[in-house]
Symmetry: none
């Protein structure tokens, strides 16, 4: 209720950092961190270059702030995933793969990992942060699910870390080919995800 009382221009002001980060994400994604000019970001945010510096200390701070903002909800979701939904491991795994596939297929969503990868050589902490909060979380969720499935007698008792990579790796390949390397004529994400799952569940070798 109190929130509604805030005058409009104030809200805009409060929204600025977010708008700037939106602009930064767009420009960083298009050009890469170094080639992106603060001018470009300002233009995309419909602000002057100077105004950017009212909200962020530096271009690097923009990068860090962006990664943090983008990582937060994903990290939260992954944590939730890892802790809930263990009743039917097989169905849950299926759901994870389908969801992850759809997310990674969306250029907007893949923009952040893409950006992290491209700045990783320069910003080791950013890379580490992302790994811990996203990559390892995701792999960990699958691992935990697998362990549960093993306990339930649904999954074979194999290396759970390897399972994590086998579940996520194919999705990464697809996303990289598509978003980073410019491949364009791949099947729709659901088709791909289902093919992965079937092979993964049943195995490649004929009995």
């Amino acid at each position: 209720m109190t929130r509604a009382a805030v005058p409009k221009f104030r809200r805009r002001a409060e929204a600025r950092p977010d708008e700037i980060l939106d602009a930064a994400l767009a420009v960083f994604t298009e050009k890469g961190f170094d080639a992106a000019r603060v001018d470009d970001i300002a233009a995309a945010a419909r602000l002057s270059k100077g105004a950017i510096y009212l909200y962020f200390d530096s271009k690097e701070a923009l990068l860090r702030g962006l990664i943090e903002r983008e990582v937060a909800p994903v990290a939260a979701q992954l944590k939730a995933l890892a802790e809930a939904g263990l009743d039917d491991p097989k169905a849950t795994l299926r759901l994870i793969v389908l969801t992850a596939m759809r997310l990674l297929n969306d250029p907007r969503i893949f923009a952040t990992p893409r950006l992290v990868l491209s700045v990783a050589p320069r910003f080791a902490e950013v890379a580490r942060f992302y790994r811990q909060r996203v990559v390892d979380q995701a792999l960990g969720a699958v691992r935990k699910l697998h362990r549960k499935g093993v306990g339930d007698g649904v999954f074979r008792d194999v290396d759970s870390d390897a399972v994590g990579r086998l579940v996520m790796g194919p999705l990464l390949i697809h996303a990289m080919r598509r978003h980073v390397l410019g491949a364009e004529d791949d099947p729709p994400p659901d088709t791909i995800a289902k093919a992965h799952l079937e092979i993964l569940f049943e195995g490649l070798v004929l009995k």
Copy 2:
């Protein structure tokens, strides 16, 4: 006999482009393309900045030359792989995975894909070139092998493209975590590769 004795300065001159590309690879890998200064590369090549420009037109030409040089042998090897070794698809696939894993685990060898990924937003053609000559070649080799295995009654008849991603994806995940995102305490590559293969061959689900 006398002719065979190539004078020293000639040999040096002929070796220069390669030496420079070595230096460029090292510096690009360490800092990323944009943050790398031509000065750094010159220093690494033990040359003056100006000398670089005797052999390459620009920093960008350095990048392109480097990618081309590094891609060539890999592409050749992959092409060979795709055309030979189809006698025992299962064993061949095992060999491919083990070999690829070792290669991707070597920081020196992974440096090129890493560089390509990081410059991809800026240099679309470099990215496309790499995809066609390396990524699609590799996936294609696995696909072909799978088709043969299906014909031989060894592999189940599933989507061969998906098989390619399932075979290579986990390796990519490992390499990225390790080289790009700074993960350090993973098991040795052979262990990882074998775990992948077992799961992939036998499937995840208990019968």
Copy 3:
């Protein structure tokens, strides 16, 4: 009324391009286009080097902008000359020669043609532009005046183009000797102009 009071910093910004061109003219004239450094121009304009590039894209753009600015008023004046003042061709021609002589004698004013001549080998379009807008305009004005004089029975009916060159050539010789080749002890411009006119009007040969 309030509106009329343009704030100071706005005026400065608006005046900048002109100030920069002033500085550029001075430096180009002193050193020539190639030997002039953008740093020098910036210093002469009391600006930082970078600021120059806020107003001009390149050193070359500076040259072009300068030529255009300097040419504009001269071209306008010449066009006016060619269209008006035909009542007394003889007096008008006398006026033209005296005026042109004074202008060409002024180092500041001769600076532009001098610059154009020195960059002509490099910038063919600049040269052509200058020829069309200034040189041919000036020669054309004389030619037109001569035709009128012929019609009026004042001038002999000879090649009007040759008349143009005969009128302007001696002035150019003087200006070049003085400003380009460093001659210093010539008579005052009016004296010179009058001597030219007398000879030109009466002819060299005794009847």
Copy 4:
């Protein structure tokens, strides 16, 4: 006879400086002094860049040597002109104008004055040298001829310096428009020269 005995390669070696100056003239003329690279000159002389420095100390020395070489014969000819051929001042003046016109019309011959003009802001001594040895010589020759003609009762007794400028100026205008400013559709040199002479001799004004 002795000269014929000199072995061929020796002669070539002796000819080198001249060949280099030829190349320098060509390249300087085409690009201007600053934009001309020593590499270009070496290539035009079919030599290596380093070899140029066996014969000339610097790029500037090349310029000075070139001007000196080109000026020498012209200066000699002009000196001769000024001292001989005074028998028939009118005919001699006619000859001078026709000859000068043809020379200035030849791009190869006008190349040197053109070069001098373009480097004048940078190399004051070169400019002064050229003025003294060429421009003032030429003007002086005409002046002397005029004085003689006055004495002979052929020419009116007017300012001889002005006569010099009136004789040479129109030729300079033509040459500059043509070679420097890129004009192309002018009448042949003899036609032009004759028109100049007629007007100059007879005067512009009807009696």
